[in-house]
Symmetry: C2
Subunit: 348 residues, 2 copies
């Protein structure tokens, strides 16, 4: 299915064919939007999904595309396949896409911690992308949003330890969870009962520990384990100490985090502010007089990670810790945009 | 105005007269409910508020009471006056109430850090209440909810440092903020615009750094400063290191917190669980298999602080830190209930 979009002046010269697997999910929708805006010369775009979604016609780049059922022959002639349909689909189909000649950018957790698979945040570690890649993993949303500012800091002042508390949006559990948050809240306001269907716990004006399964040996849930492992891999800091609590809050699509960053040495808050003010992918929102700091509503729809509340962590008597607060769009930089930025690196 | 409630079998023998200042506010309503359930022998209850609220008739203990305008003669014949009408009112009227012979239990921040004023959480430091008290301060809601479990831990294993991220409910900013959260959310769901009136930032499906003014010298806001100072005073640990980030989340009336507790020594998670399982005012909610941990919806309406997610903070390489998550009703234990529990100690 060809995309009938007029050549754009900023378009890269090389025409590329792209498949999106999971094209109708919350992330898939955003991947389509990001592809429209990426300035790529897209000669072909295939939108792939489950048989349930096949046949849907969706607008794309001024034209329209029909969603096709994912199958064995979905990747013939495809240069790049962006997967966002869960780990099971990725494990099954990503190797087939590679065998068919495509480079896979995979948003699932299936391959992220595979030693042979690069785990990429373009602002942080684009150099780990090999000359002839097969599968490239798109990291966990919290790990992406956290590492964008943290990598810039770690490059100047070595980080020793992170203490993270997250405020995670519904979008991390998909479009159905976002809809459940809306529906449960509407029911609550109307005084009606609402039985959770997507998430385990009531979501209206409520929050809860992330619902990923708990590792009985440690007490950490799967989300927390991913963030710890992936942050270390992205930052190439296997020795980094990370304590984390992941919490879902009744917010639709941007994740926030309170982070205490302990450095090897005393670092002034102004030095942190200065580094972050020129860090790629970061926007400082740190207005103390106006009491204006990163908020999910302002992060939503933005590609940058908003960072503020930069101050000494007075809980660390050594003076080596800086506290900060950040917010980033879970669907964009936390997923779709990061994947398309990887694609841009590959094509560019 | 007399309360026509039949003598209750559990009622304390001594009849007491009580005034509630700020009786129509979010906390005032809960103070009335707590007084009804406290098993006190209330011979007289005066409900005091601004002239705007005077004349309202509210149900109380099976009868009804009329709200009166706070004035110079409001405290004649009153044994105990519970203030919850803001610091200005407390500064003006609490000394007058004491001069009239009443003991004041003050929920504002006006006197909390006064060296001569006891700051009391009944489960933690009832012994600081003097034999002939004048003003007793009810602590900040976050400080109360945090210190209930932390005091039990500190009594057994000395705490060195706390790292706290809060998830604070609308109720901390009063009944109008709770209503704003509901109204802003309803407008958002309807696709309508809503201009914030009570809080500075949009609240529908959004969160933001606590709106108390920022100390320009440190970057901490007034709420964070209160929690640090009051926690140290309540725990009698002026040396305790506390780093904190206070955030308002779109939750109606219970505060949650992610806390990393660093002890002087290595303490096992099971030891923490054991101590908390018998700590007064604490209820363990720590079901890893069921992924069921403290949530504000389950803390709402409860007197106990819910504590769970007890695990080693793997971010601390020394092994001396334990991570936990808790939730407590901001209006009850965080304010009204704690004040009435102080009253019970005084009467009992």
């Amino acid at each position: 299915m060809n995309v009938h979009n007029a050549p754009r002046p900023e378009a890269a010269a090389r025409p590329v064919s792209v498949a999106v697997v999971g094209a109708t999910g919350a992330v898939g929708v955003e991947i389509r939007h990001c592809l429209e805006q990426a300035g790529l010369n897209l000669c072909r775009v295939r939108l792939l999904a489950s048989p349930r979604s096949a046949g849907q016609v969706v607008p794309f780049a001024g034209g329209s595309l029909m969603v096709e059922a994912l199958g064995d022959d979905s990747f013939q002639g495809i240069d790049y396949a962006l997967f966002s349909a869960g780990s099971g689909i990725s494990r099954d189909y990503a190797p087939r896409a590679v065998a068919a000649g495509a480079v896979v950018i995979d948003n699932s957790s299936a391959f992220r911690m595979d030693g042979d698979i690069p785990l990429v945040v373009p602002e942080v570690n684009p150099d780990v992308i090999p000359a002839r890649p097969g599968i490239i993993a798109n990291p966990n949303c919290v790990a992406i949003i956290a590492t964008v500012p943290l990598a810039a800091l770690d490059a100047r002042h070595r980080i020793r330890r992170l203490t993270i508390a997250t405020y995670q949006a519904a979008s991390g559990a998909g479009a159905a969870a976002m809809e459940e948050l809306r529906a449960a809240t509407a029911a609550h306001l109307a005084g009606d009962a609402y039985a959770p269907r997507v998430l385990k716990h009531p979501y209206a004006f409520n929050l809860f520990s992330h619902d990923a399964a708990i590792n009985p040996a440690t007490g950490y849930n799967g989300e927390e384990e991913k963030v710890v492992e992936e942050t270390r891999k992205i930052l190439r800091r296997p020795d980094l100490h990370i304590g984390i609590t992941c919490v879902r809050v009744p917010v639709l699509r941007a994740h926030s985090m309170a982070i205490s960053v302990e450095f090897d040495e005393v670092v002034e808050p102004d030095a942190v502010r200065s580094i972050l003010s020129s860090a790629p992918g970061v926007r400082l929102v740190d207005d103390r007089d106006g009491n204006h700091f990163p908020m999910p509503n302002e992060a939503s729809g933005q590609g940058d990670v908003l960072v503020g509340r930069i101050r000494r962590d007075v809980g660390d008597p050594s003076g080596r810790s800086i506290a900060l607060f950040l917010a980033g769009d879970q669907l964009l930089k936390g997923a779709a945009l990061n994947a398309v930025q990887i694609l841009q690196r590959l094509v560019g």
